[in-house]
Symmetry: C2
Subunit: 507 residues, 2 copies
């Protein structure tokens, strides 16, 4: 694994590609209040009280509180310009709470009871000694709403201006394709904002939380970016960072930490396999064969690391663990079989681009063997359904990944996707990540109207519920669903939800 010696040079090159973030100033739009409402998403309705332009003429005192709506979800730093009125002989003590969602800005964070650290919630308590002043909060927030609580003030306080100094690697959202319907144009713009807000020093999964580069999210972000912002350098940087964080065994991480120093984060076996697809997409978009050749051994190493999970029958272990696939509780055998085949085929395409024809052929041969095994052992030809694991479990994920892997021709894929709809207990997708793959499977199967319908229902469903960036978690039937036991910690601007951009331009 001589290529592992390249890690320091990959890191060096990644550092040189660090983007100059763009900064722009956004003023608060409205002063709002939150109202408990059964008919609103997460039981919280935002009601506009006044234009934020009136803020400078309002006076606040100890115990007062107000909420601002910036009119758009943003990532950046909050700046407040403070003017004391009357007595001004003591510091000003403020609590600020930045929030992405109406429910979040109205919640009591002390009641947070999730499984992730409460420190991701965006509130601070500060004392500002000298007034008047312009005060910049040090922490970067992802927010649309800002709650300001005046915990202690000597006299009255006016907020002359409250702005967000927004930051991202891109500022302006590209235009949506003219041919799109109005609702799809809306979906596209929200998707573009989602992607933009995640485009920071790296492609982050979510700018509120975890603020990290995840390989699975990167793959989808890169696909969307290639159709819109075309920030190829940020993709290259992200790929190089992933490669540089490879462990000594040659395993590409599922996620990395870049600050204060590069660190290998979690491992997920499906994400690692899909590294081949990320690199192939990049080489295809940029013709950077040199980088492709450098990284090709690393791509292949992921397959080597995965192969012990395969049995002599050409099937992935029945009880395989260590992959993500989706948050749904499900047996991951056939989904992982699909991911592996899909990834082998991406590597085979990459090998062709790089001129490694023999390797490409051998990868394809392996893919074909595994496809055959899947169809032979885990496919009910009569019912047109794929069965996963020892209990022959039926899940969307278990159909979708083999379909995307090209195990079935288009018409049979269509049959499978129709079949599963009539199975009452089939395990449905839980995440936008899995919904992305379902949409992609519909397109593969020639079911375009089903694909668009799902985009409109699922992504459009978030917009109908107030989203102007797409969420990490969305189940219309369960508004407080959270994989972390508390919806407060959910990210409302999440990379893996941005892919309508890709579908609207690629199909």
């Amino acid at each position: 694994m001589d290529y592992l010696n390249s890690r320091s040079s990959w890191l060096e090159r990644a550092n040189k590609l660090k983007p100059q973030l763009k900064h722009w100033t956004v003023s608060a739009k409205s002063i709002v209040k939150c109202i408990a409402s059964e008919s609103s998403w997460q039981k919280t309705e935002i009601k506009v009280l006044d234009s934020a332009a009136t803020l400078k003429s309002k006076l606040y005192k100890t115990g007062d509180c107000f909420i601002l709506d910036f009119g758009e979800s943003l990532v950046g730093h909050v700046r407040i310009k403070l003017r004391p009125e009357g007595r001004n002989d003591s510091p000003l003590r403020l609590r600020v709470t930045a929030a992405e969602m109406p429910y979040e800005v109205s919640a009591d964070f002390n009641k947070y009871n999730g499984s992730l650290s409460r420190s991701w919630l965006q509130d601070e308590v500060v004392n500002i000694d000298i007034l008047p002043c312009s005060y910049d909060f040090p922490r970067r927030y992802s927010l649309r709403y800002l709650k300001v609580e005046i915990l202690a003030a000597a006299g009255q306080i006016a907020f002359n201006e409250i702005t967000v100094i927004a930051e991202a690697a891109e500022e302006v959202l590209p235009e949506s394709p003219a041919r799109l319907s109005e609702i799809n144009k809306k979906i596209d713009q929200v998707a573009l904002r989602t992607l933009r807000n995640c485009m920071q020093d790296v492609f982050e999964d979510g700018p509120k939380r975890d603020r990290r580069l995840w390989l699975g999210d990167l793959r989808l972000q890169a696909k969307a970016n290639m159709q819109s912002f075309c920030q190829h350098e940020l993709v290259e940087r992200s790929i190089l960072l992933m490669a540089a964080a490879t462990d000594d065994d040659g395993r590409v991480p599922a996620c990395i930490y870049t600050e204060p120093d590069l660190r290998h984060g979690n491992d997920l076996i499906d994400y690692a396999l899909l590294f081949s697809d990320v690199v192939d997409d990049y080489v295809s978009a940029t013709s950077n064969l040199k980088l492709g050749k450098e990284l090709f051994p690393l791509v292949c190493r992921q397959f080597e690391l995965f192969r012990p999970n395969l049995g002599d029958d050409g099937l992935v272990d029945e009880e395989i663990t260590g992959g993500f696939i989706d948050w749904a509780q499900l047996n991951k055998q056939t989904a992982m079989q699909g991911v592996y085949i899909y990834s082998l085929k991406a590597a085979a395409r990459l090998a062709v681009r790089l001129g490694f024809i023999d390797i490409s052929d051998s990868l394809k041969t392996e893919a074909d063997k595994l496809s055959f095994a899947l169809k032979e052992h885990k496919y009910d030809k009569r019912k047109k359904i794929i069965l996963s694991g020892p209990e022959n479990e039926i899940s969307y994920a278990g159909q979708v990944w083999p379909i995307l892997a090209g195990v079935f021709p288009e018409d049979e894929a269509c049959d499978i996707l129709n079949s599963i709809e009539s199975i009452p207990n089939a395990i449905v997708p839980q995440t936008p990540y899995m919904y992305h793959h379902l949409v992609e499977a519909y397109f593969y199967a020639g079911m375009e109207s089903r694909a668009y319908d799902l985009i409109e229902r699922y992504w459009g469903g978030m917009i109908a519920r107030g989203a102007d960036t797409f969420w990490e978690v969305f189940n219309p039937a369960d508004e407080f669903l959270s994989p972390y036991r508390d919806a407060l910690i959910n990210s409302a601007c999440h990379a893996w939800s941005c892919t309508p951009i890709y579908f609207f331009r690629n199909q």
Copy 2:
């Protein structure tokens, strides 16, 4: 009042004299805990648990809390060096509480119920996104103790180092005079630390609160400074700032705000009169006659502004208000009469230095006339006691100021100070500020041992109760006494308590 045109030039010169603050690093000394204890001052005992050198090997998690003792009261910024152990995928949320007193560091600030703003209490809640790191808290604290509460951490956290980057216009405390007793040497060093910690951009009254230049405190600080640090430029700067903040009526403020721009704060008529003493002390110490001449009209203007308070009988109004004198509830007639005479005589001395002999004579004549009136109308010659106001109230303040004003010869002053001791309901001093003037009166009256005894009892009494800087408020019989209804807000390092420095070197 042409001299008022000089205000902008005074400000300009004051700005040029802004001191380069010294910075030095102080490591925490001990990890301590607070124990409720009936026998300890403010019911709080500090118990050492471990050396702070062991901190780096201790691991803390969400919900943990520890308290550090820096071994010395300091003013500056807290720096923490953080090292995560184990899981490190989330920000660290901390509350830090900086405190001057054991009671303060152990208290629940949510229960604070004082009349001054809660924002003076020194606690913050911050989120630190990237670990490991060195984190500097932005606010300047006055502290000896630091409580750190780990509100949320991903894994375990080690505090490799916690330091205070101390700051003041001076760092090193001068040596105490060799002739002093051991207890007086201790008192002297504590007084020097008190003064040093208040020597910032200006002479502050207290570095925790109010962080402002008060004329009454400046007068005592300047006297102590002239005997110790000899930072004449800081005195000159402070005098120039006071003069520059004079209002259009020619009134010197009792206090000023210097940030973000110079502002005239409260007015107190005794402080304004004593401006003469401050300028005279400064000219006497530096021979800067030029500045003395510039400011002399302003000194005299304070007398003009005061004179409407005088009756034809040569007495200050019976019910005069607007002066400070002390926090005790008392009639201020004779104390103010004393302050006025004292200030006239200081101005007369200054006039002599400046060569304004005629003016000096006329100031002395006025002082004599008022002294005569006091003795004639408000002095019980038989009982050797001064009676204040319409009720002929008897207070220490009412004796002390006429004595300091030289209304009585030494032996009679001694009689008066003895007399008052036997009067059961005489109003006693409440503040170190008033105790300072009582000690000075003892020295004036030749009662040296009484003066030293009081220093040892009062200032030594604070040390016996754990002080390493002298407090704003100290009454041995009332440990939670506060002029602000809550002792939490009291300042434990307060300029007006630093004058043992002066007595130990001037007498």
